[in-house]
Amino acid sequence: MMALALDLLSWIFLLAGAAFLLIGAIGVLRFPDFYTRLHAVSVCDTMGAGLVLIGLMLQGGLSLVTVKLLLIFYFMMFTCPTAVHALAQAALQGKLKPVVEDRES
């Protein structure tokens, strides 16, 4: 009974994570300019990856597998903002003008 509940919970996490990955990818395709697309990449990297990894951890149980997944999660949470920030800064230095909208809408 307990195992079944855990299994169900992990599937919910995995499917929600996959949905967020897809939403992030759609955002990368839909958003109008480079700097707004970075936000969609952020969605993919934090929520999508986090939920999928948590779902896999629930499948792994208390073992070495979970420790490794936790390490992947940890590294991802440190490297992803750094990579996104490096992209934004490089584009800013490469004189790529951001589209800015004023007060309306």
Partner: protein
């Protein structure tokens, strides 16, 4: 002789990581782990990279609480950004703001900038001493960042590093 202590610290940390990740405890594997630890330590010493900055630090409870709080913020703004992506009219209003970072140490400022980037809807574009240039996806994200809630919390956990 703090250099020797730092080197030993690093070697112990590396070997512990090897033990944790390998999962095989035969003599051959242990010897190989010891060898690779030595190789890394020799390389790092030759590159003269050993100082206070690359020491493995222990994580204090208040940092854990900060991470939990950050996770909740990330969850909230993810839902918001995901809704905006799927909305047929794309209700976004991108803008650029500058915020002040009130942290004293470099590590505190890095933590602040990385937290801003990690939350979808705001991306740190450039850091100049203690002002950050931030690209925000919506006006709402920009105003909530200007309230300085993250800034205050990073200042609170900063002094224990």
């Amino acid at each position: 002789m703090s250099k020797l202590r730092h080197t030993l610290n690093l070697a112990l940390f590396l070997f512990a990581t090897w033990l944790l990740l390998s999962g095989h405890y035969t003599p051959l594997m242990l010897a190989l782990g010891l060898l690779s630890t030595l190789l890394v330590v020799v390389l790092v010493t030759r590159a003269d990279l050993i100082d206070q900055e690359n020491q493995p630090i222990l994580i204090k409870p208040s940092v854990l609480f900060y991470w939990l709080w950050l996770g909740r913020e990330i969850y909230r703004s993810n839902i918001d950004v995901a809704w905006r992506i799927l909305h047929p009219a794309l209700p976004i209003s991108p803008n650029i703001i500058t915020v002040h970072a009130g942290q004293k140490t470099e590590l505190g400022r890095v933590t602040y900038a990385n937290s801003i980037t990690l939350i979808p809807g705001t991306v740190t574009m450039d850091v100049d001493e203690d002002t950050l240039i931030v690209h925000a996806l919506t006006q709402a994200a920009a105003t909530s960042l200007k309230n300085g809630d993250i800034n205050r919390r990073v200042c609170d956990i900063e002094d224990i590093f």
